[in-house]
Symmetry: C2
Subunit: 210 residues, 2 copies
C-alpha cells in the first residue's frame, strides 16, 4: 500500500522538486575556528566540514583540503581545538577562511587570543564562547580532503553563557554563528521553536492512544 | 612572543571559562531526517550527528547508535537519504527522534510523504525542502555508534525555495530548522549577517596594505 501511495504522488512531487546534481550544499552548520599547532606556530582556520560522529566517547569529524597548512600541523601534533564563534565575530571568522596560515599569523591579524586549554598543548580561542580540545584517533584521505576524527577530551564555555542557577548553556547569550555552506551565507539565530525530545511528545502520546 | 602573551592572559582567561568535561554538546547543527530502507520498509529517523566530510566527491558522514533500526536497513541496502526540514516541521522532526521504526511506521504517523529519488531506491521526503541521495562508501564502528560515509549522488530542492531569476537557493524561503544538540533546543534562523568569502574581505585588504 505504501509503495502505491509513493508512486501515485511521484508525478506531482517531481514538478515540485528540482534536481541539483551531486552537490555539497550543506546547512545549517557551524562556521567554526579550528586551531592547530602550538606556541608561535599555532594557526587558526575556518571550518564548515565538521560533525559529531560518536558520543562514546565524544568524537568529532573535521575535514579540510589536504594541502592546507592545518593538515600539516595536525599531522605533526595529532591534536586540534574547535572553537565556536558568536554571531558578532562574523568578520574575523570569514577572514580566517580567506587567508592561509602559511602566509599570515591570523591570531595577530584578528586579535583573537590563543589561551592554554587543560588537556592538550594546542591553544583554544578566548573570544569564542565554546571550545573543544581534541586528540586525533583516525585519519582518512577522502578525495582531495583529509578527514580527522578527534576525541573530545575537554570542553570550555565562557562563564557569561552559563545560567548561574541551573548551570545550563544559554544559547541566547552564546548567540552562535550559523553558516549555509556553498550557498555562502552567515546567519544569526532567531526564535527558539521548542525543546528536543519534548516538541514531538504530544504527537507521540496521541498516536499511542489511537 | 606569542607564547608569552598566551601565558600572561591565562589567569584572566581561566576565570572567564568554565571546563565542561569530555562533552558531545554540538551546535548549531541540522536536525535532519534520515530515510533508510525501501518501499513499505522505508523508515525515517531524526539525526543530528551529521557533517560534510569531503567535496571530492561530495561525501557526508552520518552517525547513529548501532542498535538503531536504521543501521540494519542501511547495512542491507548500502544507501540512505538525508532530508533537511524547515522550521515549521519541528514537531514531526522531534517525533521521529522519539519513536523507533521497529515499533511504528513513522511515515504513516507523521503524514510525511516518501517519494522516489532519481539515483537510488531509498525514497526522499517530499515535504522536506532539501534532499540528498547517498550511497555508502565506508562504515566504521565508533564506540556504541556506527558512522557511515555516504557519497551524495543526487540532491533535490523544492522549487519554491529557488530564486526564479538566479537559480540560487533562498535560505529565507527554505527556513531551515536549527538544532543545538545535548542542549536540546530547536531554533529558527534570524537575520542574515553576511556572505561567505566576502564578509572578511575588507579586513584582508586592510591587512594586505598595512
Amino acid at each position: 500500500m505504501r509503495v502505491e501511495v509513493g508512486i501515485s504522488t511521484r508525478a506531482i512531487a517531481t514538478r515540485m522538486k528540482q534536481q541539483r546534481g551531486a552537490s555539497d550544499v550543506m546547512f545549517p552548520i557551524p562556521a567554526a575556528l579550528l586551531v592547530s599547532g602550538r606556541g608561535e606556530h599555532a594557526n587558526v582556520m575556518t571550518i564548515a566540514w565538521i560533525g559529531m560522529m560518536s558520543s562514546t566517547p565524544p568524537t568529532i569529524g573535521v575535514s579540510m583540503i589536504s594541502s592546507h597548512y592545518s593538515v600539516e600541523l595536525i599531522n605533526a601534533t595529532r591534536e586540534f581545538t574547535v572553537n565556536f564563534p558568536s554571531a558578532k565575530q562574523v568578520e574575523v571568522v570569514d577572514y580566517c577562511g580567506l587567508v592561509s596560515g602559511k602566509k599570515r599569523n591570523k591570531f595577530n591579524d584578528t586579535g583573537l587570543t590563543p589561551i592554554a586549554g587543560a588537556k592538550i598543548a594546542t591553544p583554544i580561542i578566548e573570544e569564542c564562547p565554546y571550545n573543544m580540545e581534541c586528540v586525533v584517533t583516525e585519519t582518512f584521505e577522502l578525495g582531495d580532503f583529509t578527514m580527522f576524527l578527534g576525541e573530545i577530551v575537554e570542553t570550555h564555555i565562557t562563564t557569561t553563557c552559563i545560567d548561574a542557577e541551573t548551570g545550563k548553556i544559554q544559547v541566547t547569550q552564546l548567540d552562535p554563528l550559523v553558516y549555509c555552506a556553498v550557498i555562502r551565507e552567515y546567519w544569526a539565530l532567531g526564535a527558539k521553536l521548542g525543546n528536543g525530545f519534548q516538541a514531538g511528545r504530544d504527537l507521540a502520546n496521541r498516536l499511542k492512544m489511537s
